[in-house]
């Protein structure tokens, strides 16, 4: 236990060099997310102890659910089996992937220290068909150290739900005993396999990208089709509680369960959390890969990526005891459902939309303890009033002159294999810069400052533009012989592709980065250190960039 209280309050200005170094080492390899989990219909879970790593160097004593052996399967299948694991304890617990109206069982073996007593799992919103083994507890049947409990369950509606301990929840949930259940719909609307949904698969296949979805729809509703998905579980930790639990467990030793004194008396109030986590990890650890070897007990990450126009399902659960205002930069989120209940209009929609959604559009989606929501997000750049790809009809560079043929909604969707698939065509070739540094169209409304006057962010793609060579063109550094009148050679105005953009470099990913984070900004810190906590960078990647969620 290295649980020393780090009382170093450091503001960004002093920490920045350190942070950049840390990130440089962490982000040389890109990593992505998705919604990985294990499949049933038989789940053999444990409750056990382990240490969770935090980016401040601390290892926090925790309890969590895990697997007693190799689970029956891992999903999505696109993540190679060799990289997956389900250890005896992990936080969050294994994501259980089941299908609507299909019965499944969860057997829980209690390997917690005997002083911790019994444990259990609550499955709010699911139908508990029967239990066997264990002993009766206050809220549900509980597992003792010697008698596992088996829950037989059925989910009668699709969607995302939480599961968590039903035994001394104020302590056990704080210690890490929670997880997610994803219920896939029994029926997928045919519209989710045709049209733009099919085109997106064509686009993925063209660039060698795998399909990382668990299903093609979140619900049996034509508005619930999606192209990509992520699961985010929000929780926080008060290290004092964990320290106290460890001290009492250690003092109790291998006492006999139920014997006098073989119990814990950890005070869970006053509550003063200093770790704020997404999927059990704090930023920047959350942006490392799923199943990264350095987090044997925190296998799930939070690192969303998407291409323009992709319908991205986000499954979000509040797993701690606080609410967190989760702000998605880049666009609003359409709330589809709450705890697996699709939110629909009370009346028929405007023709021909007969199943109108009634969930709100939110730019800040509050996470609430025990509550799950499903929402859909996308980013297209519609309405920016300038060409986000920096196309330039006067260039001699072929990729600067891609066509944009609008569909009925104004997007370039006719050719799924095009780099600018899903470009917003109304602004095609419309310039933003009055006198650009490099090979993008001129005559726009604004003048960008000289690069000497600003500081580059670690996730800055290097220019305002998206595309394989957009930044090189926009900074006058393309190998193309076309030279702007105000630019005689690459770098002459100091506008070379910027340095320091290590997490999203102009020669690498070069996507559009957006911060997704708790807007209780205090919570984007890790034990008083900024940046940290509930923060991740979402990247909108140009179509030719391969998003490999298995990394």
């Amino acid at each position: 236990m290295r649980e020393t209280k780090m009382k170093k309050a450091i503001s960004m200005s002093k920490l920045l060099p350190v942070v950049i170094l840390t990130m440089a080492s962490l982000f040389t390899a890109t990593a992505y997310a998705s919604a990985p989990g294990i499949t049933g219909p038989t789940f053999n879970l444990t409750a056990a102890t382990a240490y969770l790593t935090q980016p401040d160097g601390q290892a926090v004593y925790s309890w969590g659910y895990g697997c007693t052996g190799t689970p029956s399967g891992f999903a999505p299948a696109a993540i190679p089996a060799a990289t997956t694991f389900c250890n005896v304890m992990q936080v969050p617990g294994p994501t259980l992937i089941v299908t609507e109206n299909t019965q499944f069982t969860v057997t829980l073996t209690n390997q917690l220290p005997s002083a911790a007593g019994n444990t259990s799992i609550l499955f709010p919103g699911l139908t508990l068909v029967s239990t066997s083994g264990g002993v009766p507890g206050l809220l549900t049947q509980e597992a003792t150290g010697t008698s596992p409990v088996t829950y037989t369950l059925i989910a009668t509606s699709p969607g995302t739900r939480a599961y968590y301990s039903g035994t001394q929840g104020d302590l056990q949930v704080e210690m890490g005993m929670y997880g997610a259940i994803i219920v896939l719909p029994a029926t997928i609307p045919s519209a989710c396999n045709t049209g733009l949904a099919a085109s997106n698969l064509t686009a993925e296949a063209n660039w060698g990208e795998s399909d990382f979805r668990l299903a093609h729809a979140a619900y049996n509703n034509i508005h619930a089709c999606y192209d990509r998905e992520y699961l985010f579980q929000f929780s926080e930790m008060d290290p004092r509680i964990h320290t106290q639990a460890l001290a009492q467990v250690t003092a109790a030793g291998s006492c006999t369960a139920g014997a006098a004194g073989c119990s814990l008396n950890v005070s869970t109030e006053p509550y003063h959390p200093s770790y704020f986590m997404i999927n059990g990890r704090s930023m920047p650890d959350d942006m490392d890969p799923n199943y990264a070897f350095q987090y044997p007990h925190q296998p799930y990450n939070g690192n969303p990526h998407m291409h323009p126009g992709e319908q991205v399902l986000i499954r979000v659960i509040g797993q701690g005891r606080w609410q967190h205002p989760f702000h998605e930069h880049g666009n609003h989120v359409r709330i589809l459902a709450r705890d697996g209940n699709l939110i629909l209009s009370q009346t028929a929609g405007v023709t021909p939309d007969l199943t109108g959604l009634a969930g709100p559009l939110l730019f800040t989606t509050t996470t609430t303890p025990g509550l799950a929501f499903d929402g859909i997000f996308y980013w297209t750049g519609k309405g920016l009033n300038w060409d986000a790809y920096g196309h330039n009809p006067n260039s001699t560079d072929a990729s600067a002159k891609l066509p944009c043929t609008p569909d009925a909604n104004g997007y370039n969707t006719g050719a799924p294999t095009a780099i600018n698939y899903f470009e917003w065509c109304q602004d095609h070739e419309k310039p933003v810069e009055a006198a650009p540094f490099g090979d993008v169209a001129a005559g726009g409304p604004t003048t960008l400052p000289d690069p000497n006057l600003f500081t580059n962010g670690a996730w800055y793609g290097g220019s305002p533009y998206l595309g394989p060579d957009a930044t090189l063109r926009a900074t006058g550094c393309t190998s193309d012989p076309y030279i702007k009148s105000n630019q005689t050679s690459c770098g002459q105005t100091g506008s070379t592709p910027p340095s320091g953009t290590i997490a999203n470099s102009p020669s690498g990913e070069a996507g559009f980065a957006f911060m997704w984070h708790s807007h209780n900004e205090r919570e984007i810190t890790t034990n008083n250190i900024f940046p940290g906590g509930m923060l991740m960078m979402m990247l909108v990647d140009s179509r030719e960039f391969v998003i490999d969620e298995s990394m």
């Binding site: 309050a9 450091i10 503001s11 960004m12 200005s13 508005h223 959390p273 319908q311 609410q323 702000h327 930069h329 880049g330 209009s345 009346t347 929609g349 405007v350 939309d353 109108g356 959604l357 009634a358 709100p360 559009l361 939110l362 730019f363 800040t364 509050t366 996308y378 519609k382 309405g383 920016l384 009033n385 609008p406 909604n409 104004g410 065509c425 109304q426 095609h428 070739e429 419309k430 726009g444 409304p445 604004t446 003048t447 400052p449 000289d450 006057l453 600003f454 580059n456 962010g457 800055y460 305002p464 559009f512 980065a513 957006f514 911060m515 900004e521 205090r522 810190t525 900024f530 960078m537």
Partner: protein, 520 residues
Amino acid sequence: MRKLYQISLTIILIGVAAGVASAQSFRVQCPPSTITHPVVANNNSEPSYVGPTYTGTSGFPAAPAHVNGAIKCQQISGGDGYATMADGTQTYLFSFGPLSGLAKIANGQPGTDFPNEFNTIYAGPMLQPGDPATTVNAAGTFTFNGAVGQVPDLDNGGAINGHVDPRQMMDVGVMNGNIPAPLMAIDEDDEYFLTLSNVGMIMRPDLFEQHTVHFHGYPNASAFYDGVPDASVAINIGASFTYYYLAPDAGTYFWHCHITPPEHLQMGMVGQLYVRPRQDRVTGDLFTALNSQQLDLRTKCDSNTDILCSNPLPAINTAAAGAATVLNGGTSGYAYNDGDGSTYYDVEYPIQIHGFDPNFHFVGMTFNPEGFADMKDKYFLLNGRSYPDTVTAGSLQTQSADGVNHFSQPLSAIINIPAGKKALLRISDLDVSEYQTLASLGIPMHVVGYNAKLLRDQAGNNLYYNTNSITLAGGESLDVILDATGYTAGSVFYLYTPNLDHLSNDAENFGGLMTEVRIN
């Protein structure tokens, strides 16, 4: 004072040094015309809405069928300043201040200008530190709303092209922080040019911090102009950056600095921003006008093909006629393009909820690092003020460390409603550490919008609801209409927080998150 002077001199020198490397580091941008708004003479007022900008799949470079909206510009400083809390404490801020629209801001109005206002060259004697408060307090009048610092570019034939004299910007911009930060208001279809000039934090010369503007909630935001320093660029001290957006869908947004958010937001770099709907410029039938917005793919809402379709046609056509509110120059308007007139208001009030932790602000004024986990707000603010300052009319002044009075909190929180009329409260919350509830004693709150979107399902049914309290976290906004129909002039109601421990001003146990609704 000598020390302060030296610091400001240093910063000016830095600005000058950077200026040698490029053309100029401080500058403003407000083109009188653009590709989108090509005719100079048409860009200094809002034209009436008579039809969609584009129809069908047409777009640039085709000429628009109708040119809608205008050009709007604003300049702000990023730096520091002081504010006065309701218990009399002077609180140190990291903050934004106005560098255009000064007279409007001082009168509680948005500081947003049309090009002909913004590009007006100041003609009087030199602006003074603390202006407009310095001039007003000397019994002078201050009416200048143009860009502070802009001067004719003598190297280009005296053109008004954004060239500035940095002395005026430093004189006015240093220590002129406002809480909330300068108010911004634009109309749908406007092009908006916001210039942020980083004048440095004079009390913290150890910090060479950048500042940014995050337009919180903009749909389909640009990563480059999103103001997240990690994802884009951030302007250094002594230089300017101009953010550019076509106004997004109507709604109540807000803005803030995105550098080290737990620090810069807590320290006060938070402001208000709203977008008025196209419907304010409609003279005829509202339903017909909303229908014609469906002809432009940028503004249409087809819930069948767009999951984020934000503004469907109303299920019931009320045949309401437009009041053309913006064109009439009055205070009334609509919160959203409702198509049925249901979000009409007679007066509007931007209300920002915020909180200050005095310990954090004290530590923030020193050279010591602040702690985040222990952050605990003790001042609970509506428009940067706690009760009873919330019911003080006009600007609050604070003497800063430069010995000069500044208009530190220009926006009163009094809600004045003429009897029988409706008030729109554009409520935003930028708390950094906790949720807060605001309750209405008396007039019910009629909630019509949430997170800058009309509350309407995809079948066109309005989902408005009445309540007596709303709860928001930092990063959320909500639109409430208070309808004073049936209330008599002279009556007073309260907006206050049922988080009873928030009805305090640090050690004073009376005050906090409370203000008055006055029927008059």
